[in-house]
Symmetry: C2
Subunit: 315 residues, 2 copies
Amino acid sequence: MIYTPICDLLGIEKPVLQGGMAHISDARLAAAVSNAGGLGIISAASGNVEKIEEEIDKAFSLTDKPFGVNVMLMGENVDEIAKLLAQKKVAVVTTGAGNPAKYVSMWKEAGIKVIPVVASASLAKLMERSGADAVIAEGGESGGHVGEMMTMSLIPQVCDAVTIPVIGAGGIADGRGVAAAFMLGAVGVQVGTRFLLADECCISRTYKDKLIKAHDTSTIVTGRRLGHPVRSLKTAFSRSYAKEEYNMNITDDELEKMAVGSLKAAVVDGDDKKGCFLAGQISGLVNKEQSAKEMIDEIFIETENILNGASKWVK
Amino acid sequence: MIYTPICDLLGIEKPVLQGGMAHISDARLAAAVSNAGGLGIISAASGNVEKIEEEIDKAFSLTDKPFGVNVMLMGENVDEIAKLLAQKKVAVVTTGAGNPAKYVSMWKEAGIKVIPVVASASLAKLMERSGADAVIAEGGESGGHVGEMMTMSLIPQVCDAVTIPVIGAGGIADGRGVAAAFMLGAVGVQVGTRFLLADECCISRTYKDKLIKAHDTSTIVTGRRLGHPVRSLKTAFSRSYAKEEYNMNITDDELEKMAVGSLKAAVVDGDDKKGCFLAGQISGLVNKEQSAKEMIDEIFIETENILNGASKWVK
């Protein structure tokens, strides 16, 4: 078995976190991942405090293993959500899109481990100084909101910058990716795209089918003009949106409006025309529908085999 | 020592290729890398056939080890350059920016190994069918011309697509990167950015100083609007160019003209104002001036240590 300091830190069996995917990562998926020995994570990106509380309570009823909640710091109702998480004493909070410094002491007093997602070495340093227990170094090959730094360059540079454990993310879906992240200095991984095909994942049939058909080059980044780049599957919608970003007859406001509701259209309605189907560059490798447990078991058997054979080129 | 099938294929001691960097990779750098046990590569991107012949002859005089030449297939005088390489019987040709199919049989008859740079699994497959001996899967964290796919996602998907050996590139500058590329399935690496600081590399003092000072987030991609994205160090010039890409009062022609001569201004003149200082995202890790031999020795000692310790998380 694979066991690293992240397992000790979070009280989990296998050093894998499930990415907190907006409108996707609910109690059912999180509990399935936690029951399989990883760390399931509920997304609080909706900003709906009551709904988030419901999901947390549901997860507590579905698993007695640790699970986490992901908070988008640029989202709505962040203060209330932060308080809720402290009251509920969830095991872990991961944060994205900002600096969680003002909540860290409250969360730590509640016994919560705080793990920010970072896209640069300087942000990782800042998070360590703010009291983070670990950081997730996420490269821009991931699905959803992306930074400019990519996994292969980001992980070692973050590892050099901090002394807290580093979790690698972005482009990781199998044992090869886990083993590579470990070589770069990470002691855990966060996986998003692969869990989209988990039996316990709620996304529409259309979304899953698109992912199964995807190749390596099937994703595109849109939103750079507005400063919020997002990676999703290429569709007529995302291609035309990408083109319109260079059309100055279209205002920023109009561009913003084009994207409203597009994630829900993908996740819930499976709407091919309006949907924005978030997915990472590793989509081409992701084509099997399995339970979360089958995925995790398979990933770590593969990781173990690869790491045990790693010295085969040393003569 | 580290020894893989790429060493056998190319007749080299250590599985590392030095990237063919336009206006930078000359006979002196290539010979230094080849003498150190790697595969040095001369860039033929200038399109100046006489100058390229001179450099090849010079490399033959500086080393009796194999070396290669990199051909930009969208460049000038490609037919003449291709013929020259066959006449000179250089050991290896690497190709970028296109499909070398029409030259492959000529080169192979001359005993040359042909290794295209690819940015997708489908292109890798096409290259294998065209008779390539190996492929370089280069992720977009590299310096210079970049594709959309990133190293962590690209290498495993290319490895799944072909049976010929895969060389990983993009974001690799130390033993951690080499070990990670091996875990993803590569049996060799191509390194560019780190060799910019080699004692034998001809770039201007300003260029080297900028690279030494660079952090992880010090690079930027420009040229997306014109369809030729390029990664370079952030400077006043590259930042303003990036901004102008969204300015529709500036025509594509004007944008194109802004970049003319910018590479030479960086490499030769060290011109801070007009120069385009190509470099990869791994720049933040690259800060030591050493001989090419010291770099290569250091990289592979580190690789060996990491691979030998790779099973430390297997309990």
